[in-house]
Structure formats: C-alpha cells, structure tokens
C-alpha cells in the first residue's frame, strides 16, 4: 500500500540493519500496546487494559535486550519508509481495525498472537536470507524470542473464554461531546 517498493528479499541484512529493524519492531510494539492500554482504560475496559500493559512490558524486555546487543554499534539512519518489511509495515503494528472499546481478552490476545507471529516470521525470513553467520545467528535468536511470545499467546488464548455473541452490545448510544 505504501508507495515504497523496497524489495525485502533482494539483499541480505547487515548486522546494523538487523539491529535497526529489530529495535523498531520492539519499540513500535511497546508504543502500540501502551497506546492500546491507555485507550482501553479510557473506556473502562480495565481487563484488556491490563493485558495490553502486560504485553507492553514484555516487549520492553525485548527492547532492553536489543539495546544491549546494539551497545556501541552505529546503526544506519533510516527514514520510516526506508525500512524493509515483508508486508510494508513493521510486523508488530497493530491493525487498528481490530480494536473495539468492548473488545474481550480473547480479541486482544488474538491480535497480539497475530503480531508476535508476524514478528517471528520476519526474523526467520531475515535469518533465511542471511549470508553472514553471526547475523544469521542473531536473527534466529530474535526469532526464537518471538516464538516464545507466540507460545505464551497461544497458551493464554487457549485458557481464555471465547467472546459471547453479544460481546459488542452496548445499550447506550454514542455521545456527542463537541
């Protein structure tokens, strides 16, 4: 959809590129989940707000790890649209269309699972495409971290009740505030 047509698989990722992309993935994830937590608490959907808070903290751990990896390495300076993503968007960018003020934990986890899965797939794809062993190793490690998240999401989802048929029923109409 974006006008950029960076070809994801045209070139193997350098170490710097991998780290830069990984950082963006996790930082965006932290921001997305934090924003969603705020939105949910604004709407009084506290259960889901807490869930997104939890996700945000998990991603923050990933951020810390990646920043440690980066250390003193100089990362390439890229405009937001110069990153190479398989789907033209960072993998953990929440699709806002799936968000609803009455969403249940099941919905939230489904969204989160999708994200963690695409992040995992992203790192796996980077690893597959790598020529440099060290980069490949690191990419694989990142993929494994995401795999762990995927497992957790699947686990939590399994324990989560499915939403009822009237999950989005609100007897009150929307308010006109301006």
């Amino acid at each position: 959809m974006s006008p950029t047509t960076n070809d994801f698989s045209s070139q193997p990722f350098s170490l710097g590129e991998l780290l830069a992309h990984a950082l963006v993935v996790e930082l965006e994830a932290v921001q997305s989940y934090t924003d969603l937590a705020t939105q949910m608490s604004q709407c009084g959907n506290n259960e889901v707000a807490e869930l997104f808070e939890k996700m945000s903290k998990l991603e923050a751990e990933h951020v810390a790890k990646i920043q440690e990896q980066i250390g003193d390495i100089e990362l390439p300076e890229l405009a937001p649209w110069e990153y190479r993503w398989p789907e033209m968007e960072p993998p953990e960018n929440i699709d806002i269309a799936g968000v609803h003020y009455l969403m249940t934990p099941h919905h939230a986890l489904t969204l989160a699972l999708k994200n963690e899965t695409s992040a995992m797939v992203f790192f796996e794809a980077v690893a597959d495409n790598c020529t440099d062993q060290d980069v490949r190793l690191l990419a694989t490690e990142f993929a494994d971290d995401e795999r762990q998240h995927v497992a957790w999401m699947e686990d939590w989802l399994a324990k989560c009740p499915e939403p009822g048929l009237d999950w989005d029923y609100d007897p009150d109409p929307p308010a006109a505030i301006d």
């Binding site: 006008p3 930082l27 921001q31 390439p76 649209w81 699709d95 806002i96 968000v99 969403m103």
Partner: protein
C-alpha cells in the same frame, strides 16, 4: 520512526499527556502516529510546530501531540492557520480537521487558502461522515447513504476536495489512508517539506458510525502513475479515479504566499507628516 540517535527527535518527544477521546479503532490514531513520525523524521522541534484545527473528532488532534495547538471554531481552521503562519513564518503550521469541518462550513476557506498558496500543510481526515454529532452525511458521503437527518440519502453529488484544491491552486495534493501509517508518514513528510499549500486527504475510517469502511483496507491501492506537475492532468486523473488512489498526486511549483510579518521596519516613514495641512 528514526532510529534512536542521541540528539535526534524521537516519537516520545511528541507524546502528549492528554488522552484522546477518540473511539478505539478510530483511524485518527494512526494519523497521529504518522504525523509524529513525519515531524520527528524532519527534525521539527515540538515548540516549533503549531497544529490548528476546527471542530469535530479529527479536530481534537492538536492536544494529542506535544506541540503548540489552536483548537478553534467550526470550519475556520484555515483562516486561523493563515493568521498564524503570516504572523510567524518561522514556525511549521499544520492545519487539521475532518471532512465536515473542512468541506462544508469550511469549504469557502479551502478555496481561498489554495488560491493564496500559503505555506502550510492541510490534513483532512476524511471519514465521509459527521462523526462527532453522531452520524450525519458530510459533503463526501455517497448520495444514497441513509441517515436520520436525510432518510434515503441526500441525493447530492459528493464534494471532490482534491479536484477543487487543484483548480484553486494548491501546490501539493495527495491522498493517503490511515491504515497505511508508514506511507501516510512519508506523504506527510513530503507535504510539509513542499513549499506552498499542501493538501492531504487522509481516508480515515470511522469505526463507530461507518463500520462499512472496514472495506477500505481492501480497496485502497497505490496510485498507478507518478505525481504530475500538470494541474489539469492531475485533476483529470482524480476526477476519473475510483477515490482510492493512494499517493502524491500533484506537485506544483507556484510561489508560496509572500506576505508575512517581519521583525523589523521595512521602510522608514513619518506617518504623522501625511496629515499636515
């Protein structure tokens, strides 16, 4: 988002403490995100940005970004933004609002802002509805869209903002989609950088009153041709496209509006003398 380089601006520099009143799922959240990315990428400091808006859901934007803001009255964002920019040519002025605010009550001001080619960026978050007042057709709503206020639809041809903007002299015209945040960020960065009046129509679905707009995600597609510098060509394209062409459609080279307040006297004059008998 630019990588965290010390001294460079980050998204968190623009984080506002004011929590949005928007419905979760609103496209405007993405627009805020895109705009933040764009200004961070351009290195525009929060105190150097003024966002001017009117009234409506989209017009709540200024308070949700850490910058100077002006939440004015319905339909009058463009003249207010013009005043700010003429008074303070040193600042980056962004005008924002929705389709009702911008194309109905604000329609006249759109024409003249384009004519003036004032150096600001005008973002209209178009959801083809008056969302704030709970669901009336707006100038961009299809004529057969049923509502309480216009049962059976208005029966009126939708307003064509991009064509009008082109005909009136806008210097940069683009269409974006809130569900494409990176692409929108890029378009906004280009719009802000481009001199003169930059107009970006961002299709931004209303989750509460237009659930049908979920389909937009499937309908949008990159514009099949590169942006043109020929206004009439751009107008023809826009008048014949399906309304979902995404991308920069027109980049002109008109001189931006010249008048502005200077800091110093331009010509010494003893005004009192002219009244002497």
């Amino acid at each position: 988002m630019s990588v965290q380089v010390p001294g460079k601006l980050k998204a968190s520099d623009y984080k506002s403490d004011t929590k949005p009143v928007w419905c979760p799922g609103c496209g405007d959240f993405h627009v805020r995100h895109s705009l933040t990315k764009a200004v961070a990428h351009l290195g525009l400091r929060p105190e150097e940005i003024v966002i001017v808006s009117g009234i409506g859901c989209s017009s709540r934007l200024p308070a949700y970004i850490n910058c100077y803001g002006f939440h004015g009255i319905h339909g009058r964002a463009l003249p207010a933004a013009t005043g700010v920019k003429v008074a303070r040519p040193d600042l980056t002025v962004i005008c924002a609002g929705g389709d009702g605010d911008g194309f109905s009550i604000g329609g006249n001001h759109l024409l003249h802002a384009c004519r003036r080619n004032i150096d600001i960026t005008y973002i209209v978050m178009d959801n083809e509805i008056y969302g704030m007042t709970k669901g009336q057709p707006s100038p961009t709503t299809a004529p057969d869209w049923d509502s309480k206020i216009a049962p059976g639809g208005t029966g009126i041809s939708p307003f064509q903002p991009l064509v009008i903007a082109l005909a009136s002299g806008a210097n940069f015209v683009a269409r974006a989609f809130s569900g494409d945040p990176i692409g929108t960020a890029r378009t906004l960065a280009e719009a802000i950088t481009h001199p003169g009046f930059s107009f970006v129509q961002i299709l931004s679905p209303c989750v509460t009153f237009r659930p049908d707009q979920r389909e937009w995600k499937k309908l949008v597609h990159p514009a099949p041709v590169t942006p043109t510098s020929d206004a009439s060509q751009a107008a023809r394209r826009v008048m014949t496209d399906d309304g979902f062409n995404i991308g920069v459609l027109y980049k002109g080279s008109r001189e931006p509006y010249r008048q502005s307040v200077a800091r110093e006297i331009r010509v010494e004059r003893n005004i009192d003398e002219e009244f002497l008998v």
